[in-house]
Amino acid sequence: MSLSKKVRELLESHGKPQKEVYFDLENSGFIPQEVVEAMIPYFNMRGYGHPSITHRVGWEALEVIYEAKELLAKTIGVDNPESIVFTHSGTEANNLAILGFLLKNRGSRGKKVIVSSIEHLSVIFPARFASELLGFKVVLVPVDEYGFIDPEILKYYVDKDTVLVSIQMVNHEIGTIQRIKELVDIVKSANQEAIFHTDAADAYGWVPINVRELGIDMLTISSHKVHGPRGVGVLYVREGLELESPLKGQLSVEKLWPGVENVPLIAGFKKAVEIMFNDFDSRVNYVRNLRDKLMKGILDRVPEVLVNGPTGNARVANNVNMSFLRVEGEALTVELSLYGVYVSSGSACSSRVLEPSHVLLAIGRKHEEAHGSILFKVSHHHREDDIIYALEVIPKAVERLRNISAWR
């Protein structure tokens, strides 16, 4: 049977639930109609040309690229829109930051690269890759039980040999808001030459960012994390900082990332950013309120649950991550899916390597605790009744699987 037919049969057997609530915004998100409408003209009405070719539809494409760059620059406190580089995903932006910097500096005397132990894999893997390929040494900094890096500990790691430090602003799984200014200051005071990159994919649109005030050299943003389309990422590169692109090919607007810019998606991303930054504080408060209801509601209704990550103001407003003991996370995602509640898990159900989320293991969760973890991301597109529905369904789903469970 063909694979597509197999998936079709699975979908038919699953059926479409009457009510659906999508919380899996970590992995991909739905796109609001306004954002879809901002993209449509760029497919065939305007700006469908190549932004680096000298004709009208090319210039229309260039116009929207610059509009997006100017807007993005403004939202992170930067004057020069040229320091915004478009890639085709957040993963690519992180790869450009790590590999691009290390390629450019492969001849440098310093050989140490410091990343936190809870970074996104698109930071950890390129760092390891570069260490094998270019002779750098990657060091993972530990975090505490809530995912924080202790500045005092970081101090011991940064030395004269350190060329690059990459620490997330907000963790993508457990929502820890790192005290990034303190960490940047520690790095820069220990070694002024060391470059600081932060993956801000989960911070952007949720915590205010000013790269100049923070002293950050490179910063990653991802479109799909702000209800923009998949397929666009951004790397901010401080003026004067040089990278060598790890990707080779025909250049266009971007001198660091070959391949034609994804113009319609960039137009959509721009719209998504406008929405995120219009009424920033009240939107974040609205989401925090819903998030707290969901988190408290689960804790009130379901026994044997652990909260992964910090509570209070140090947790980003949209994040809920909990471990449901005696239940395996993947089974719970399927069970919740049958009810129309869509989430993801940090379990290792899909392999025999038995390795669940590295983030959860890094904060000291045991394997069996990590296997039962579920990640929800709340957004301003959720309504109170979505939370009420989720709270109705989650206890039933957990109870059924616990009744089956061989783990007593």
Partner: protein, 171 residues
């Protein structure tokens, strides 16, 4: 690392995950055996009632409990359905591949669910013959591939946690 892998489950897996058969503990079980562990992320406990009718060992009843993914639950469920009423000797011959095929083909990354279920059954059968104090000719002295794999999986986790303890990091 928790990279994501597509898992196109068959409708059969989804159906058995939704409505598993032969679920829960059995009070008059002859043997109860588990395979896997919570730390591994999957664990099956099998309850077997084996009776000897005119010198032939028959599985009269089989039930299960499962901690694991949707495929794990479905695999354990279909295994119990398959073995009820079977001669123990015939049940022993069920391979993990046959089990996977009966579920409409598990995704390769989920083969270990089927291996775990067959491993638990083989453990149960060995436990039964140990209990009654006999060893039929057809029962191999050495562990089969499935049994070895189950041991391996359990051992990896045991080694991991004992090494943490040695390092003083156990909790």
């Amino acid at each position: 690392m928790s990279s994501r892998i597509p898992l196109p489950y068959s409708p059969k897996v989804l159906e058995l995950f939704r409505n598993p058969k032969n679920l829960g503990p059995m009070e008059d079980a002859t043997v109860v055996e588990s395979a896997g562990s919570p730390a591994c992320g999957d664990m099956i406990r099998l309850y077997l009632k084996i009776v000897n009718i005119d010198g032939v060992d028959i599985i009269e009843k089989a039930t299960f409990e499962s901690y694991g993914c949707a495929a794990n639950i479905a695999t354990a469920s279909i295994l119990t359905e398959m073995i009820i009423g079977k001669k123990v000797e015939d049940a022993w011959k069920i391979s993990w591949k046959y089990l996977s095929d009966q579920l409409g083909g598990l995704p390769p990354i989920k083969y270990h669910c089927s291996i775990l279920a067959v491993g638990a059954l083989k453990r149960g059968i060995r436990a039964y013959y140990k209990k009654v104090g006999s060893h039929p000719d057809w029962l191999p002295k050495d562990l089969t591939t499935e049994e070895k794999q189950v041991f391996e999986e359990e051992e990896i986790m045991m080694r991991y946690y004992s090494s943490l303890k040695t390092l003083g990091e156990g909790r």
